[in-house]
C-alpha cells in the first residue's frame, strides 16, 4: 500500500494572501451560516432534521476549495457548508432549509438534500453510506468519458461500517476511478463513539484491503487538510487512482439540532477542550502570526459575512412556498403519453 504521510505543517507556503483570505471567508461564512440556521431552527422556521457543521468546517472547505469547476462533490446529510464551499449561494441554501421554492432543491429536499447541478454539487444523501456508491458511479462516468475531473465523496466515520463503503471502494480501486473518499471522523456516529463500533480504530488502514492509497488529514486545520486532499486530487487526476482520506475532526454540536451537545456519550469538559482547537481560531492565528491578517481585517470580514447571512435569512423568510402543483412535479422526467403513473386520490 502506498501510504502518504500527514501533510507538512509549513502550512502557508504556496498561498497568496487573497487565497488565504478566501479560505478564512468560507470558514467564517460556514460558522455564521450555521449559527443562523440554529437560531432559525429554534424558532421553528426550519423543520425536520438539521445537522450542523460547526467544528468541522476545515474538512469540507479544505477539501472542496482546491477543486476545478468540472469536478464533482457528493456528500451526506451534514451538507450546508459543503454546498457553500462549492459556491452555492447562502440565499439558495438558507431558502432550502426554510423549505422555500427559491431553495437550491426547490423546497423538496431540505437540510439533508441540498443539490446544485450548476455547481456539480450532487448532494445531500440521507442514508448513511448510500452516497459512496453514487460517487463511484460519478468516477466511472469520468473515466468512461476519458475526462480528468475528480469526484470528492464525503461521509462520516460511522458509514465505514456499511457494506456500501466496502463495495464502492473495491470497485473504485479495481477500475481506477478518480474518487477521493473523505471520512469525516468526528469520533461519534450520533451518540456512539467510534471505538465502541469498530474492530479496527485506524480507518485509513481499511484502504489496505483494497490496495488503495490512504492518508490521515488534520481535519481541524484547513490548510493541512487542503494539502492532504490536493495530493489525493492530483493522484486521481493523473491516472484515476482513488484515495481514502481519514480527516480527524470534532463536532462541537449535537448530532442534529434535536440531539444534545454532550451527555451520556461525551462530557462537557471534552467538548470544551476540543473547542480550544477550533479550526477557525487555528486559521486566524496562522494568518495573524504570518502578519497576513489584522484585527481590523478580521472585523471587517466578519461584519460583511454577518450581513451576507442576515440577507440570506431574510431572503428565505421572504421567499414563497412552492406552489401546490409542485407536489407532482419532477416525480417522473417523462409523463408518458400512455398509461397512468399516479394512483392516489389526488393524482389520478
Amino acid at each position: 500500500m502506498a501510504r502518504t504521510k500527514e501533510a507538512p505543517s509549513s502550512a502557508l507556503a504556496g498561498y497568496d494572501r487573497e487565497e488565504l483570505h478566501r479560505l478564512l471567508y468560507l470558514m467564517l461564512l460556514g460558522r455564521r451560516f450555521e449559527d443562523s440556521a440554529a437560531e432559525a431552527y429554534a424558532l421553528g422556521k426550519i423543520g425536520g432534521f438539521c445537522h450542523l457543521y460547526i467544528g468541522q468546517e476545515a474538512v469540507g472547505i479544505g477539501a472542496i476549495s482546491p477543486l476545478r469547476e468540472d469536478d464533482y462533490v457528493v456528500t451526506a446529510y451534514r451538507d450546508h457548508v459543503q454546498a457553500l464551499a462549492r459556491g452555492v449561494s447562502p440565499r439558495a441554501v438558507m431558502a432550502e432549509l426554510y423549505g422555500r421554492a427559491t431553495g437550491c432543491s426547490g423546497g423538496k429536499g431540505g437540510s439533508m438534500h441540498l443539490y446544485s447541478a450548476e455547481h456539480n454539487f450532487l448532494g445531500g444523501w440521507g442514508i448513511v453510506g448510500g452516497q459512496i456508491p453514487l460517487a463511484t458511479g460519478v468516477g466511472f462516468a469520468i473515466k468512461y468519458r476519458k475526462q480528468d475531473s475528480v469526484c470528492l465523496c464525503f461521509f462520516g466515520e460511522a458509514a465505514v461500517n456499511q457494506g456500501a463503503f466496502h463495495e464502492a471502494l473495491n470497485m473504485a480501486a479495481l477500475w481506477k476511478l478518480p474518487v477521493v473518499f473523505i471520512v469525516e471522523n468526528n469520533r461519534f456516529g450520533m451518540g456512539t463513539a467510534w471505538e465502541r463500533v469498530a474492530s479496527l480504530y485506524d480507518i485509513s488502514q481499511k484502504a489496505t484491503a483494497y490496495d488503495m492509497p490512504a492518508a490521515i488529514a488534520d481535519g481541524m486545520d484547513v490548510l493541512r487538510m487542503r494539502a492532504t486532499i490536493q495530493e489525493a486530487i492530483d493522484r486521481a487526476r493523473k491516472d484515476g487512482t482513488p484515495t481514502l482520506v481519514e480527516a480527524r475532526c470534532y463536532r462541537f454540536m449535537g448530532h442534529s439540532m434535536s440531539d444534545p451537545v454532550h451527555g451520556v456519550y461525551r462530557t462537557k469538559e471534552e467538548v470544551e477542550e476540543e473547542k480550544q482547537k477550533d479550526p477557525i481560531r487555528v486559521l486566524i492565528d496562522q494568518l495573524t502570526e504570518a502578519e497576513l491578517l489584522t484585527e481590523d481585517d478580521l472585523n471587517t470580514l466578519d461584519e460583511r459575512i454577518k450581513e451576507e447571512v442576515e440577507d440570506a435569512a431574510q431572503f428565505a423568510e421572504d421567499s414563497p412556498d412552492p406552489e401546490p402543483d409542485a407536489l407532482y412535479n419532477n416525480v417522473y422526467a417523462e409523463l408518458n403519453p400512455h398509461g397512468r403513473l399516479f394512483f392516489d386520490d389526488l393524482g389520478r
Partner: protein, 326 residues
C-alpha cells in the same frame, strides 16, 4: 418478421441501443466474458469492448449505486441483476437514490437507468431464488416497471426502457428466455411503456395478467373456450405506467375479471389493479374481481409442492368459472 427467441430479442435490443447511443453501457455479474448467466448479453463484450460491457464483482448494492451515480451525470446505464432475487441487496440504491433522484433534486439530476433481469420462479430453485418482485418495485413512485411476455414485447419494451429518462425496472422471465416468437425486423420496433395489449379477445370474462402468467392465462382461456366460455386475456406489459383505459374497457365489455400473477397476493399487482377496477368500474362488475397468485408461502423445493404453489391454468379456469357463477 423473423422468428427468434426472447433471449435473442433482448440481445438485439441491447445491441441496437448501444450502437445508437454511446452513453448506454451494460454492467452486471457475468455479463461480459461469460456472455451473461442466461446468455442475454452474448457477443456484446466482443462487439462493444469492456468499457461498455462491464463484468462486476458480486456486489449488487455497489454496482446498482454506481449505475445511479453514472446516470446522475448523464450516462445511461443498464444494470443487470442475475435475477431480481439478488436485487434485494440493492434496494437502497433503487428506492432511496434512483426513485427519488429527480424529485429531491427538484429536477436538477435525473436517473435514466434500466435495472433488468429475470423475476419469478423457474424450476425447483426453492425459496430464495423463486420470487416475483414486481409488487415491491411498483410500490415506489419515481420507478417505472415493465414485464414483457413475448419476444416482440421483450425487444420493443427494452428499447423503450433504455430510451426512457426515468429509472425503469425491466423484469424478464427465466422460463421465457428460450421461447420463440415473431419479432418485427425494423430497428424502430419500440413498444411504448404504458400500453397493455389484448393477447386474446373474448366477451365473457377478462383475465388480466402480466409477464410469464400471460401464457398460463392463454392456456386457461383455451380450456375455457372448449367449454363455450370466451375469455379476454389482457397483458398489461407495463405495471407503472398502467394502461387503466384498456383494463376498464375490457371489464366494461365482460363485466367480470380475474387477475393472474406469479407473486404473492398481499399488496400484489392483483390487489392494485382490482382496487382500481373497484374504484372506477364498480358498476360494470357482475362479480367480485378474483385473484390467482402464488400460494402465500415461501416457494418449496419439492416438485409437487412447487407445482401446487404456482398459478396454473386449472386454477385460472376455476377462478373464471367462479366469477361467472358456474
Amino acid at each position: 418478421m423473423a422468428v427468434i427467441t426472447y433471449r435473442e430479442a433482448l440481445n438485439q435490443a441491447l445491441a441496437e441501443e448501444m450502437e445508437r447511443d454511446p452513453d448506454v453501457f451494460l454492467m452486471g455479474e457475468e455479463v461480459g466474458l461469460y456472455n451473461g448467466a442466461y446468455k442475454v448479453s452474448k457477443g456484446l463484450l466482443e462487439r462493444f469492448g469492456d468499457d461498455r460491457v462491464v463484468d462486476t464483482p458480486i456486489t449488487e448494492l455497489g454496482f446498482a449505486g454506481l449505475g445511479v451515480g453514472a446516470a446522475m451525470v448523464g450516462l445511461r446505464p443498464i444494470i443487470e441483476f442475475m435475477t431480481f432475487n439478488f436485487s434485494m441487496l440493492a434496494l437502497d440504491q433503487v428506492f432511496n437514490s434512483a426513485a427519488k433522484m429527480l424529485y429531491m433534486t427538484d429536477g436538477q439530476f435525473g436517473c435514466p437507468i434500466v435495472f433488468r433481469g429475470p423475476t419469478g420462479a423457474a424450476l425447483q430453485l426453492s425459496a430464495q431464488h423463486s420470487q416475483a418482485m414486481e409488487a415491491t418495485y411498483v410500490h415506489y413512485p419515481g420507478i417505472k416497471v415493465c414485464t414483457p411476455a413475448t419476444p416482440a414485447d421483450a425487444k420493443g419494451l427494452l428499447k423503450a426502457a433504455i430510451r426512457d429518462d426515468d429509472p425503469v425496472v425491466f423484469m424478464e422471465g427465466e422460463l421465457l428466455y428460450a421461447m420463440k416468437g415473431e419479432v418485427p425486423d425494423s430497428e424502430d420496433h419500440v413498444v411504448p411503456l404504458g400500453l397493455a395489449e389484448v393477447k386474446r379477445e373474448g366477451g365473457d370474462v377478462s383475465i388480466l395478467t402480466h409477464g410469464k402468467m400471460v401464457h398460463v392465462s392463454l392456456q386457461a382461456a383455451e380450456q375455457l373456450s372448449k367449454d363455450g366460455i370466451e375469455a379476454e386475456v389482457v397483458d398489461l406489459r407495463s405495471l407503472r405506467p398502467l394502461d387503466v383505459e384498456t383494463i376498464l374497457a375490457s371489464v366494461a365489455k365482460t363485466n367480470r375479471a380475474v387477475y393472474v400473477e406469479e407473486g404473492w397476493s398481499v399488496c400484489g399487482i392483483g390487489a392494485y389493479v382490482s382496487a382500481t377496477i373497484m374504484e372506477e368500474a364498480f358498476d360494470h362488475l357482475d362479480a367480485p374481481v378474483l385473484r390467482v397468485s402464488q400460494a402465500d408461502v415461501p416457494m418449496p423445493y419439492n416438485k409437487q409442492l412447487e407445482k401446487l404453489a404456482k398459478p396454473s391454468p386449472a386454477r385460472v379456469v376455476e377462478a373464471c368459472n367462479s366469477v361467472l357463477y358456474r
